[in-house]
């Protein structure tokens, strides 16, 4: 098969991370960029996110999802970046061989000089939480329900129970209600909300939709279409408390039980994954362990705000373009060992950290962000600390720590000085 080697950078996925990566990859040194998207429009998941809450940081405006996507599309349209829509990447090798397919151009083989992985994430399903009961119609993940309502224009249910207090679930609770369906209940296995507080207020409280914490689905009824569910309370070890079972008659169960980075291609390419983020281990350039492959956005780990996804995409796009420009091709791999760097692992109350490795050379005035995902709910002032052998290297204060919200720290020059002093070591990020 003929190989196309025209491109400096191929970006896989045109969601917020991919759009930003493609723009920055071009801007870096007028690189030859190809952006590949499996949907028939740009924006990834954004076009179906018709609620607001996007762009406060990037644009200083509270925008709905489609508008946020359009702002990037407009920037992109002015640039000579090539775009392939309705196109699936089915294979990616460690040598950057990319196989794509669509119904107009057929099956194609590319070998660019750099690749940005921006495939985003997928939803956890009923099977992953091993939900007992039948396999009837009427069980949807929240994102699929959102697509059916907002893109296809159909209602998948009339009487709905939502399992999981994730953001998409709460947003869909409001959306269903506005469209005339009844959302009977939102259930959450954990003793606390897993989505953002603002969504709880604006989507549940304002619409009188009850939230039941420490409660899950015990059984789904209905052979053909969902006819009801049985709920059950759980104790602090998440074990079912017998005697607390309750039947709710409903025709639909919507699951908002978590997101998982989409890393099929990353695995095929031999990219090393972090068990904490379920995404590639990346450094502060958003580079993975495979030379020339970069990753950004939800593919690297689940973010809470799209603005940070775009910012990570910008870094990845720029880094990929720099790599592709070959100036450093030979130098980079060789100098790997000597470059001043630190690695960061999650410690107390921290679920994951991105990036997992930070380089301090050639910052060129660039900012470095540390993104930490707490895994405990601490509703008080907390101290976030990076330590080496239990000795504090740097720390800062936050008002609280919530699993639903990332703690993001833009490293200040004095932070960097402190971290540089600990160069070459593995630091532990903890919250106390």
């Amino acid at each position: 098969m003929e190989v196309n080697t025209d491109y400096d950078v191929i970006v896989i996925g045109a969601g917020p991370a991919g759009l930003a990566a493609a723009i920055e990859a071009y801007n870096e040194n007028k690189s030859n960029v190809l952006l590949i998207e499996r949907n028939d429009s740009l924006g990834g998941i954004l076009p179906q996110c018709i609620h607001n809450g996007f762009g406060a940081i990037k644009f200083g405006n509270d925008l709905p999802g489609p508008e946020y996507a359009v702002r990037y599309e407009e920037q992109l349209r002015d640039l000579p970046v090539e775009i392939m829509l309705d196109t699936m990447v089915v294979d990616l090798t460690p040598d950057l061989d990319i196989y794509t397919m669509n119904s107009t151009q057929g099956y194609r083989h590319f070998r660019p000089r750099a690749v940005v992985l921006a495939m985003g994430c997928r939803e956890r399903t009923r099977s992953q939480i091993r939900l007992p009961g039948t396999r009837a119609a009427g069980i949807y993940t929240a994102g699929t329900a959102q697509r059916l309502v907002n893109i296809e224009g159909y209602m998948p249910g009339n009487e709905i129970v939502i399992l999981g207090s994730g953001d998409v679930g709460m947003i869909m609770a409001r959306r269903f209600t506005i469209e005339g369906a009844r959302v009977l209940s939102v259930l959450e296995l954990l003793p606390y909300l897993t989505g953002l507080r603002r969504n709880f207020v604006q989507c549940l409280q304002d619409y009188d939709i009850p939230l039941h914490l420490s409660t899950t689905v015990n059984k789904i009824y209905g052979e053909r279409r969902v006819e009801g569910i049985e709920t059950v309370k759980v104790d602090e070890h998440l074990n079912h408390i017998s005697g607390t079972e309750k039947f709710i008659k409903c025709d639909t169960l919507v699951l908002s039980v978590g997101l998982i980075p989409e890393n099929e291609l990353s695995r095929k390419a031999g990219v090393q994954l972090d068990p904490h983020t379920n995404g590639p281990i990346v450094d502060s350039d958003m580079a993975t362990n495979v030379p020339g492959i970069y990753a950004a956005g939800n593919v690297a780990g689940i973010y809470d705000l799209v603005d940070y996804v775009s910012m990570a995409g910008e870094v990845a796009g720029r880094s990929a373009a720099v790599w592709a420009s070959k100036q450093k091709v030979a130098a980079k791999a060789q100098a790997e060992e000597e470059r001043p760097s630190i690695t960061i692992k999650p410690g107390a109350n921290v679920g994951s950290v991105i990036p997992q490795k930070v380089y301090f050379d050639d910052l060129d005035g660039r900012d470095i962000y540390l993104n930490m995902r707490p895994n405990a709910l601490l509703e008080r002032a907390v101290k976030v600390e990076l330590s080496l052998d239990s000795e504090e290297i740097m720390s800062f204060r936050e008002k609280y720590a919530r699993p639903a919200e990332m703690i993001i720290r833009k490293l200040k020059p004095r932070d960097i000085d402190k971290l540089k002093a600990a160069g070459g070591h593995e630091l532990i990020a903890g919250i106390s």
């Binding site: 099956y107 099977s127 396999r135 119609a137 005339g180 052979e223 025709d251």
Partner: protein, 492 residues
Amino acid sequence: MNKVKKFDVVIIGAGVIGSMVARELSRYKLSVAVLEKEVDVGMGQSSSNSAIIHSGHDPEPGTMKARMNVRGNELWYKIVPELDIPLEKTGALIVAVGPEEQAGLYPLLEQGQKNGVSGLEILSREDVLSLEPHLTGDVTGALSTPTAGIVDAFQGVLGPAENAAMNGVEFILNAEVQGVVVEDGTLKAVETSQGPVEATWFINAAGIHSDEILHMVGDHPDFHISARRGEYFVFDSSAFRVSNVIFPMPSEKGKGILVTTTTHGNTMIGPNSNVIEDKEDHSVTESGMSEILDGARRLVPMISPRHVISTFAGLRATGNYKPPGHGKDFLLEVSKSVKGLITLAGVESPGYVSAPAIAEYVAEMLRGEGVVLEEKPDWNPKRSRIPRFKDMSHDERKEIIRENPAYGRIVCRCEEVTEGEVLQAIHSPIPATTYDAIKRRTWLGTGRCQGSFDYPRTMEILARELGMSMTEITKKGPGSVFLYRRTKEGVV
């Protein structure tokens, strides 16, 4: 009024037994129809089981179960090249843990030999562990049954059913048998939800409902089928794999909770065995799921629920028929209380593997009743399944998309199923008209995302191809719609 349909032979039930019988009879100059109460073939226990072509070591010697199993095993390997059904001769290991179980291997070997199973052998602990390194270190030995295999359970029904349809058998779907017409001791017709159907011979292959058909004609009033539910876990293909089918030592409850690989490369564990009231209750339970996890971990301790991508439950049609001097057996006979009926009832495990042998036996019974079975000169034994994009090389993929651009559009990302495959499923010899019917034909929606990605896309294609609205598309036939109405159509 519905016009009365008339056939030489009418088969009730389009599971693996009914489909294999249909294909067998399609060789002959007979008019044959299959009545199926569901919207597609293979929707009952034939599609939710362990998908194993058992060797035949397990059934009691001298029973129909033993005879049909061993012959069925042989026939499956002969049939699959004709019907293009994925089948792998993996072999199976019945694993003993501890001296008591180890001693039990010898009677099992002897029983298998009595049944005529070839290649049986008792393996040492070292041999077992070198074959299956994931097994528990406590293993003491195993019985190896090299003729056992794994099959694509959906294709195992679709293959014979489609081939039968290609050879003139009429499949009447959504046709539940609701009553019978018996005149002068002969079963003349059955009443169905699609009107009456007459035939000279009826074959009762109604699976879990086969006792109800018998009772309608007043045959075997004491025969009763209970539903024994078995639950399963399917794992992501990137999790661990075993090379053989791994069984524990059998008990009165059956062959036990096994560990196997599917023909699609996923590891699967199950089933447990619990009698339930409702013959249509395919739900999985919290307690059942821990039971099979515990059972499978006894053999393969590394199994973790973390990589589970799917759970399902199947119902075994356990009859209470016991031939003189034997334990429970299949009830395969020409009815003695009514003329024109052949009964294939109580066909629980090893029913799937027995299906082609049972079909052969039906032809034998018909001949015995004086039915002339004359071969059709133009009978076509071949059927091909839909070419699978996922299994193709880069060059084959390029070629097929060039020939058929619909192959260029992926509908299911995890299993890489294309629109070309979905279209072929919808326009196949037994057309797929529901989401689950497409899933059984293409394996779409069976991967990690379990349909989250393909639902809207598949519904759109079905609506377009069948000329239906999106709100009419169902998961598995009447009563299982996905969508209720358009948005903005007001409050319900």
